[in-house]
Symmetry: D3
Subunit: 277 residues, 6 copies
Amino acid sequence: MSLQVDQIIERALDEDIGSGDPGSTLLFPEEARATAVIQAKESGILAGLPVAEATFKKLAPDLIWQPKTRDGQSVSSGEVVAELKGSLQGILMGERVALNFLQRLSGIATATRRFVDAVRGLDVKILDTRKTAPGLRVLDKYAVRAGGGHNHRFGLYDGILVKDNHIRAAGGVEKAMKLLREKSPPILKIEVEVTSVCQAQEALAAGAAVIMLDNMSSADMAEAVRIIGRRALVEASGGVTLEGVREIAATGVDWISVGALTHSAKALDLSLEVVSA
Amino acid sequence: MSLQVDQIIERALDEDIGSGDPGSTLLFPEEARATAVIQAKESGILAGLPVAEATFKKLAPDLIWQPKTRDGQSVSSGEVVAELKGSLQGILMGERVALNFLQRLSGIATATRRFVDAVRGLDVKILDTRKTAPGLRVLDKYAVRAGGGHNHRFGLYDGILVKDNHIRAAGGVEKAMKLLREKSPPILKIEVEVTSVCQAQEALAAGAAVIMLDNMSSADMAEAVRIIGRRALVEASGGVTLEGVREIAATGVDWISVGALTHSAKALDLSLEVVSA
Amino acid sequence: MSLQVDQIIERALDEDIGSGDPGSTLLFPEEARATAVIQAKESGILAGLPVAEATFKKLAPDLIWQPKTRDGQSVSSGEVVAELKGSLQGILMGERVALNFLQRLSGIATATRRFVDAVRGLDVKILDTRKTAPGLRVLDKYAVRAGGGHNHRFGLYDGILVKDNHIRAAGGVEKAMKLLREKSPPILKIEVEVTSVCQAQEALAAGAAVIMLDNMSSADMAEAVRIIGRRALVEASGGVTLEGVREIAATGVDWISVGALTHSAKALDLSLEVVSA
Amino acid sequence: MSLQVDQIIERALDEDIGSGDPGSTLLFPEEARATAVIQAKESGILAGLPVAEATFKKLAPDLIWQPKTRDGQSVSSGEVVAELKGSLQGILMGERVALNFLQRLSGIATATRRFVDAVRGLDVKILDTRKTAPGLRVLDKYAVRAGGGHNHRFGLYDGILVKDNHIRAAGGVEKAMKLLREKSPPILKIEVEVTSVCQAQEALAAGAAVIMLDNMSSADMAEAVRIIGRRALVEASGGVTLEGVREIAATGVDWISVGALTHSAKALDLSLEVVSA
Amino acid sequence: MSLQVDQIIERALDEDIGSGDPGSTLLFPEEARATAVIQAKESGILAGLPVAEATFKKLAPDLIWQPKTRDGQSVSSGEVVAELKGSLQGILMGERVALNFLQRLSGIATATRRFVDAVRGLDVKILDTRKTAPGLRVLDKYAVRAGGGHNHRFGLYDGILVKDNHIRAAGGVEKAMKLLREKSPPILKIEVEVTSVCQAQEALAAGAAVIMLDNMSSADMAEAVRIIGRRALVEASGGVTLEGVREIAATGVDWISVGALTHSAKALDLSLEVVSA
Amino acid sequence: MSLQVDQIIERALDEDIGSGDPGSTLLFPEEARATAVIQAKESGILAGLPVAEATFKKLAPDLIWQPKTRDGQSVSSGEVVAELKGSLQGILMGERVALNFLQRLSGIATATRRFVDAVRGLDVKILDTRKTAPGLRVLDKYAVRAGGGHNHRFGLYDGILVKDNHIRAAGGVEKAMKLLREKSPPILKIEVEVTSVCQAQEALAAGAAVIMLDNMSSADMAEAVRIIGRRALVEASGGVTLEGVREIAATGVDWISVGALTHSAKALDLSLEVVSA
């Protein structure tokens, strides 16, 4: 677990436990031990097992965690994904937080896998966006990788995306790119967002390393890909659905980014049951 | 904005901006000013305007924020929900984080309103659960209220829920309730989770203030409500869908709790456009 | 130790040690070991042993801590309450902070026990208030439990208390209660503060779950209890002294809350002595 | 307000408000305004007005705070110490935390003033100790100054105190002092704790800048003062009571330190009343 | 000021002021006002004025700050760089921290400018490294930009550098690059460190976007540049001195990175004087 | 490692690793193990080994750290200073941060040792100042001790320095000293900065415990030392160079403080090499 994830877990536990859990602490002695299982209640792709483990271990450092599968694997309804042995108080106090992580991340991984499967065989990468739950980006993006997707930039700092708003305010793509090529950290790639084939040509001429085709028709995307001719990477973006993704992929773009992977993923149903106490 | 929300916003900005936004800071002078609008791109219930405002003001303290509607109001596609005037850098750097808040919270409010509408006219409250995005619970629950729902407990600390796992490990509901009534903070209500009419009677006898009917049939729920006879509040829980919620409400339960409001809400589509710079 | 207590301990150590303890670190090598005892220097009820232990272990993770008694037990002057073996530097650097916790919490437990003893045999609970040392509430309230008392609400969030100021500003108790019953999280109990028998009746009629009799005479309290007739819980509050508490309890109230337990408790005298180094 | 005090206040508010104050926020609109007064309900020395002010302003930045007296002044029962005008929600949400600060700090200032008054006319300073509420030391020590006392060291870092435990473990006072004089930051004064006249002489010979007479009789203290002959400062410490303090002062010591100022001070009774809303 | 810089400043002030500044607070009333100037005591390139300003304003929000020059400008000995008017306490308490920032950052900017001047006229960029003072990277890198240099990656997250250690452990550059091209975030550039012309060819063949020539002779660097033929960017690194930098630049490399800019920069001498109080 | 140092290390790692290190985590499995050595690449005095160790252990708790020397020892070019065995990912991710600490602190220790050697045989102490890297003071001052120097005050809180600015604003040294002697914590020493022999006499008369001779000639310093006659400690300060320090020491001053030890120390060159993976 990285230090960032460690803090996310601590905050989540603090948020849920706050001034205490009178239920668990009054009903059971601190030394009570139990065995519990986490089970899938529907099929999907699992993600977040190490996060769930770390969550329980914050409350019960000597808990024994036995995963029955790995992140990125598919699970079916009824399948046990992990077994826990340790402090009964710890298991009960950590249950909701651990499941909240596991259900969200598995939901994202499951959604991602569906898009990845939909373009299988084509030379294209499914990417996420920055449309993640505030404060959970490293985890949301981890789940995308578990689902077989790739990560787009993590923030404003690890890649430069020149969007419509930037171009207009800067007085044109050429002017903007000139400034950025001179002054921005040269280790960063510069991507330019365009909405037409013509703008794509301009972006290419201005030196964009990546060109994002925003909400363009498949025909226009194919034309843009042809004209760019591998001199820049090409990303398709905007309202991508599971139904439409293969058609987009067939245009020859290199990347397809999908906001819904993280902003609208349905949680995967999972539960925890104490099997002996 | 409460201090908790303030910290959530600061963390979200830090997560997105990190070591800096070379795009905005190199392209535009610090003193550049702009006007932008936030628009709905689909219809739904808005929530999170004050959070979005606070997000931008962290980056641009003198930004002028003109909301065109209020949290809890319905908006339709194309409607402008707020206008911003101020630092161009601040608007561009805050855009994604502000929209992430606004889209998630509006998505929750929209989902909540659908459930509230589905039971309109019946004397029942739609409640949320603790199945919220880790670290965002106060906001997720705020959005539920904006949608017309009610909040269940915020954590393990402001209400006691005696679940299946507790009852078994404690050796029965009566024993568990006796201990809790003696020792737990008497200002806290005690709720007991049951899965049958018979257990509901036991819980009532043991002094539960609220009885949660977990995944029971409508017939059984109606029977339980009848037997309890207003001597305790009754909550229906477990796999509640928009299609099934009215039938559940008709059983006479007091509360219906719906995890999907927060764990699987689809983001509401909103965008920000710089209209003059 | 919960995460909250962990942070309280870290802050207390940081406050005391700051940029370093040149005394201990220059006089003794890091590897020096010692045995020390913590002794009571007056009789009282002990509370805080796990906090003291955690304090030392922050500085000396491999310290051996041997408690000779348990929180909630009475100790007499001269009694050894714990023995420590481990890093001499760690013991000397943690001494003051550990004792500060132990003395404060034992002082609170001792004061609480006196009130609990004073009402022994009567069916009433001694409760604390929110008048705790800022930042130490979870510990102050833990000490009250160790002393045999019960906890009132931990904050503004886990119970609603409608006070004089609220009622007046809201335009009457009925109006206030109507709003709260409709909108507040239904898992929260609502308590109403009253100063007369007449107001108690109003509060009852308005649906209060708990009625707080504030600074009323014993006769009035008895009358209020009689009229309420177990339809709500009754709390006595305001200037409760050890001398007067039994008379109040005899009025039949359910709870008696005492601010002095936490805002004015005298520290219990305890000391640490290095017995071999 | 220093940054440290600012954080203490934020933590105290977070501790009390947590996930929210449904009472105030549901009963009153955000824009409701009120006037309130803070009144003394017993006589004493006031301390903490700027802390109370800062507490309210965290919640209501535009609150108008009108102090009617100053920290360090004596107040009598019934006296208004401050008037507040501003957000009704803010006043109600901040009330308890602000009073908790004000009551604790005024209690410490009041206790301190009694000791200062008891030695008036003698050339001696009343000092505090490190026996403060964990996390509140800067405030507790501020209150001691407001009461007319002086601050001893703030932590292990701003003065070196060689105690019994140190001397024994180090193999004698001379050996310990030699090491410290060579190695410790030379800007720090070194104080040595002694329990007999003979040890006081040793400490003096070893170069102590301050000699602490721990739990010695008045006669012995007078003798020690005579022998030391102003070649070092002399501190009396250990079980100092209001009754005994003048006799100690009369021995000619320079400082008298009193742990009870901070570890056992009784809170000063103060209340807040909303006078118009 | 970004939120990150804000926290750096708060920590620096807390580090220096800690439990308080008895000097300033006892000698001067809170309301005392003063005018002060910050002066260069040697010539160099200034950087850090906004950081110094923010430092003072943390302590004295209404301080008037009048810069006499801008970051990135050269100053000469005796030149006033800023004038301050405001709280005397605030100016005295902030002096050291503000100067520590200003002197360090100006030292870095001055060193950077010397390297930039040494290669003037050649098409090459002077870059910094990750060899910055722990916790101060965003500021150290800001100062490099002020001096006319460019920033290399800010951390392990915004660019991938495959070093000797990685290549060996991964079993060769080709194998490493294959894995990274498939799995790493495609927005990140991949740079490979090489120590010979032959390795540079391998790196190019493996698809490196940037090739770092580590501690190679000028002749070898020139040869590598020739062979790479603009198909990748070329960075020279390792023991670059002011004397040798132009020779390196003449080899045709695109970037020259210099660790000494940040790990060994000499502070620029600056002082603050109160001119009227 | 103290809690303060622990936090410095965590912040430095977070600064460098941020959202992740795709290089190490994609190239190597989590369970890969390696052996690495840290080597000096030039001669100097080592400082920071325990900080480097703690840095790696944050990322790889079970890493085996085998130091080959100790802080404060001299090392020569090529010498191995520590060997590490453990997680390959952990070693690669911690490398830069650990070296940044080790190189800075060793640079400070090396510079300090040169000054200490230059005055060897004379009864004088080399002191540091508060001119440290913001946020790193406890470490910078630790390195000074490792180099054989002594620490001056750590902040504004552990010693009072009455400077030129204070004296003028307070209306003279006598007035300032009177106030401070009455009100300041009596455990703190008071030092007065002077720029002439005449002022030194004034300071002595006013009761200064330490007198700082700021930027005075050697002749004047010698005269001041003679006049003060051991009735106060004497510090020389201002523009002290390695060349001039022995002449200053010969004047008989007790302390010589050198800002350059910390504000301008050149990093010591050290490297890490993975020797087997």
